[in-house]
């Protein structure tokens, strides 16, 4: 039995200790916004915030979560910057298939929280762990700059 705090709520789940956080979120807590893409921290689709830091939930055993705060795409809009990121993503039609966008948004939100005027290089360093096969990178970059320039 593990008790984890997700989006401010404590959940107790009865799962094996090596079950990755991603699958606990998706299967046990029915929070399916975080996506499975590679299972090896190679694509970033499963990115959640652990105590504010973007983390690949597909490789984080549930036993490693402890009392750290988990925040997912379902709740990130409740943060000021998370909400800005979502709104700008919509405005610029960033998503195509959309499957990677939960991870992209979690990565972008963390970046903008840390750095209110990221350079292109800062964006590269923060977002290059998140793969998008539809090729929305140019719009992601544009959206991040737009938020930084106009709203932060």
């Amino acid at each position: 039995m593990f008790t984890i705090r997700v989006n401010g709520i404590a959940h107790t789940v009865d799962v094996s200790e090596d079950k990755p956080l991603l699958w606990v979120l998706r299967e046990n807590l029915k929070l399916t916004g975080s996506k499975y893409g590679c299972g090896q921290a190679l694509c970033g689709a499963c990115t959640v915030h652990i105590d504010g830091q973007p983390t690949r939930s597909c490789v984080m055993p549930i036993s490693a979560v402890g009392d750290k705060q988990v925040r997912t795409i379902e709740d990130i809009g409740n943060e000021h910057i998370g909400g800005l990121v979502q709104a700008t993503w919509q405005e610029l039609n960033v998503p195509q298939c959309g499957y990677c966008q939960s991870g992209q948004i979690m990565a972008a939100t963390a970046l903008l929280k840390d750095n209110s005027s990221p350079s292109d290089q800062d964006i590269d360093k923060a977002l290059s762990g998140n793969i998008c096969r539809c090729g929305t990178y140019p719009r992601i970059r544009k959206a991040i700059h737009k938020i930084a320039t106009e709203q932060l």
Partner: protein, 740 residues
């Protein structure tokens, strides 16, 4: 185009009155054999809000107009990221004169009336860049017909001539009487109206919605985690399965030791199916652990033994043999005889994986007499046919939900329905709802790749430096050819396929003014090496060869590659227009300092594209792609921003293939497994991308694949400009380039 025109005439509209009032409209030319008769219970799949029939007037399964004047349009094309759920409703809304802000959309059920007119109204099939251009005319007619019926209903209500009324933003307006009624108010009465056989369509000059770029209808749900993909489907009592597949294609499980697997907590059962051995468990993690514990001995006597190196040698040998002619202009042999010189080049392209972000997955709920299926697919009609075969059910015993896909790129358009068949085979044994999940490794190793291809092109030049002959020969596994070899579609879907060469995706559109042209192909069929179409299909390899070779010829006769092409396109105004536009936008001939430019042009899918790529190559072969400029003519852009997004997408997709894309087989075993050994383009490797639309006002062309084929040759031509080296094979990592 001839296909399209012919088909649009077959459109008709069926209308009936619904229980409780309302208007029932269905469009399409398919037979009415489908018994998908759930008109009183609107589909609630795909995460759409269930609509209470008491509160909504239904305009059939095709469209719903609710009392608060909200319109929901059901879309027969699959949403694979290209924006089908936005662009197709825009077409309907345009002719309907709907208030776009009140329009939403959902994926349609799998039923004949939603078939794609592009495929003779026989299939729901979202491939070949056919969604928008396929559905365009039919959707307009339906929108226009319903608008006319709403106007007629208002005319009756107000006892005025219909001709005195106009429509605007989901209202019928009587200017003289100073009154208006919403579509929602009128829909019940409109259902009583006769369906106009030839509703008048708008003059394109009066379009308000078509040609605008509203936000994608799925944008909000795709940013807050609420958008439901197939992998997110969750139904009561659902189990999760993964399938252990043979290391070599078409191997069969011979002996299965499942003791250790069954000992894993949460594992419910192990079942051998045709495609492998399924481990069924309470959750994904238990299924995965069970699969790892499984011991399977495979019978590989008849399994595939494709070996990349061996195959390449065999393909190269076949380049010496004549293939099936697919284009013959003039007399090539004679022209070659009289030429002062004939030059040729050979090219090679490896297998490549689609690697969509959402790995394949299917949910099947089978109870012995009926089934419900949820999956992201580009080929719903055939999936449903195969599901019926595997489960022993008739089509009307299957409720098939087309889920939006986390990417398709052709992989979800498998006419052989591989992943649906596997999932149904599992469900048939367990008779309990089950979600079959492919891991990334399953997806990467699971076959159905862009087939490897060898291409040879030659050109003959006379003493005045004119190109007098052109030959182009391809050797590749052709997916379409496979369908013919197996006669599968003929036997399953009860229709006859058109002649093979009309359906292949081989390049025959070589646009240059050359009198003598011979294009032929070797249509290889290898059932033990599953190949499939991948975004832009054979154009990827054929256009690469064509557009790099034409560059070589230009330099050979001391001409600027842009001017050389331009001269040879004197009879191809649309090619020329995009070529001129891209040269202008990219400042052709004046690359930034230290950079080199390459250019390429093509037309297909009733669209045209020219691209300029700007690169630099350092002394230690570090390759940087700085900029890709595209000019496209897709006739009419329904949603220009979606067109631009598709081109941006295609450029990045193409770069992944060109730079890194390679699936290698050794003695039948795929060597790649995940994004570490099958890298795709990441943010930091992405160039500046600029796209301009130079539309011609022609009919709607396809754009999903358009941006892919020219990127490779333009890039290779730019590399030649930088270091004087010709690229004859992909990916570029093979030529020892380091990708910056």
């Amino acid at each position: 185009m001839s296909k399209l025109t012919k088909l649009s005439r077959r459109h008709f509209i069926r209308v009936s009155v619904m229980a409780g009032g309302g208007l029932l409209v269905a469009c399409g030319g398919g037979s009415s054999s489908s018994k998908n008769n759930n008109t009183s219970t609107p589909p609630t799949d795909n995460g759409g809000e269930p609509t209470n029939p008491a509160e909504a007037f239904q305009v059939g399964e095709f469209m719903r107009i609710s009392t608060d004047n909200k319109i929901t349009i059901l879309v027969g094309a699959a949403e694979i990221g290209q924006g089908a759920l936005t662009a197709i409703p825009m077409i309907v809304a345009e002719e309907l004169d709907a208030d776009w802000s009140q329009v939403s959309s959902e994926s349609s059920p799998v039923a004949a009336r939603f078939n794609n007119p592009y495929f003779a109204n026989l299939l729901q099939f979202t491939v070949a860049s056919s969604a928008t251009r396929g559905y365009f005319e039919g959707q307009r007619s339906v929108g226009a017909a319903v608008r006319q019926m709403l106007v007629n209903a208002a005319a009756k209500r107000w006892e005025v001539p219909a001709s005195s009324l106009r429509t605007e933003s989901s209202y019928v307006i009587d200017d003289i009487g100073g009154r208006r009624a919403s579509y929602g108010e009128l829909s019940s009465e409109a259902a009583q109206e006769r369906v106009p056989t030839n509703p008048s369509l708008k003059n394109p000059a009066n379009y308000r919605i078509i040609g605008s770029s509203p936000q994608r209808l799925d944008a909000a749900d795709k940013t807050d985690g609420s958008f439901q993909y197939g992998i997110d489907v969750d139904i009561p009592n659902m189990l999760t399965a993964v399938i252990a597949r043979p290391p070599r294609f078409n191997g069969q499980a011979l002996n299965v030791d499942d003791n250790a697997a069954l000992a894993v907590p949460g594992v419910r059962g192990v079942y051998t199916i045709l495609g492998g051995v399924a481990v069924v468990a309470d959750d994904f993690w238990a299924a995965e652990k069970g699969r790892k514990a499984l011991q399977v001995q495979w019978n590989e006597l008849l399994a595939g033994r494709t070996d990349s190196d061996t195959q390449r040698n065999a393909y190269n040998l076949r380049l010496n043999l004549p293939g099936l002619p697919i284009r013959i202009d003039g007399l090539v042999l004679t022209a070659q005889l009289f030429a002062s010189e004939t030059v040729s080049a050979d090219y090679y392209f490896p297998f490549m994986a689609h690697a969509a972000m959402e790995p394949l997955n299917v949910v099947v709920d089978y109870d012995g007499s009926s089934a419900e299926i949820w999956t992201g697919t580009q080929s719903a009609t055939l999936d449903k046919v195969f599901a019926g075969l595997v489960l022993g059910l008739l089509p009307d015993q299957i409720n098939f939900h087309v889920m939006p896909s986390g990417g398709g790129f052709g992989r979800r358009g498998n006419p052989l329905a591989d992943y649906v068949r596997d999932a149904c085979a599992v469900a048939k044994q367990i008779r309990q709802p089950v979600k079959v999940i492919w891991t990334r490794e399953d997806d990467m190793k699971g076959g159905y790749y862009r087939p490897a291809a060898a291409v040879r092109v030659s050109a003959s030049i006379d003493s005045a430096n004119n190109i007098t002959a052109w030959t182009h020969r391809s050797v590749t596994q052709d997916v379409t050819a496979l369908l013919y070899a197996e006669n599968l579609l003929d036997s399953l879907a009860d229709f006859t396929l058109p002649p093979l060469k009309e359906l292949t995706d081989f390049e025959t559109g070589m646009p240059y003014k050359i009198d003598n042209v011979l294009m032929d192909a070797h249509l290889t069929v290898n059932l033990n090496m599953p190949a499939l179409w991948m975004r832009s299909v054979n154009k990827f390899s054929d256009v690469f060869a064509q557009e790099t070779f034409i560059d070589e010829l230009a330099l050979k006769v001391n001409k600027n590659p842009y001017n050389f092409r331009r001269d040879l396109l004197s009879e191809k105004p649309r090619h020329r227009a995009v070529l001129d536009a891209v040269a202008d936008a990219a400042n052709w001939g004046f690359p930034a300092s230290g950079r080199s430019q390459g250019i390429a042009v093509m037309g297909h899918w009733n669209s045209f594209v020219a691209q300029v790529v700007e690169v630099s190559v350092s002394a230690n072969r570090e390759l940087t792609v700085h900029r890709v400029v595209s000019a496209v003519d897709c006739g009419t852009a329904v949603n220009p921003d979606l067109v631009i997004a598709q081109v941006e997408s295609a450029v990045i997709f193409a770069l992944s293939s060109i730079l890194f894309g390679e699936i290698l087989l050794e003695d039948g075993v795929v060597q790649q497994s995940n994004f570490d050994d099958y890298p795709v383009l990441r943010m930091y490797q992405t160039p500046a991308i600029e796209t301009i639309i130079v539309n011609s006002g022609n009919p709607v062309g396809g754009v999903g694949e358009l941006g892919v084929p020219c990127v490779g040759p333009a890039l290779a031509n730019a590399i030649f400009g930088a270091i004087g080296e010709r690229i004859r094979e992909l990916p570029l990592t093979r030529s020892n380039f380091k990708i910056a």
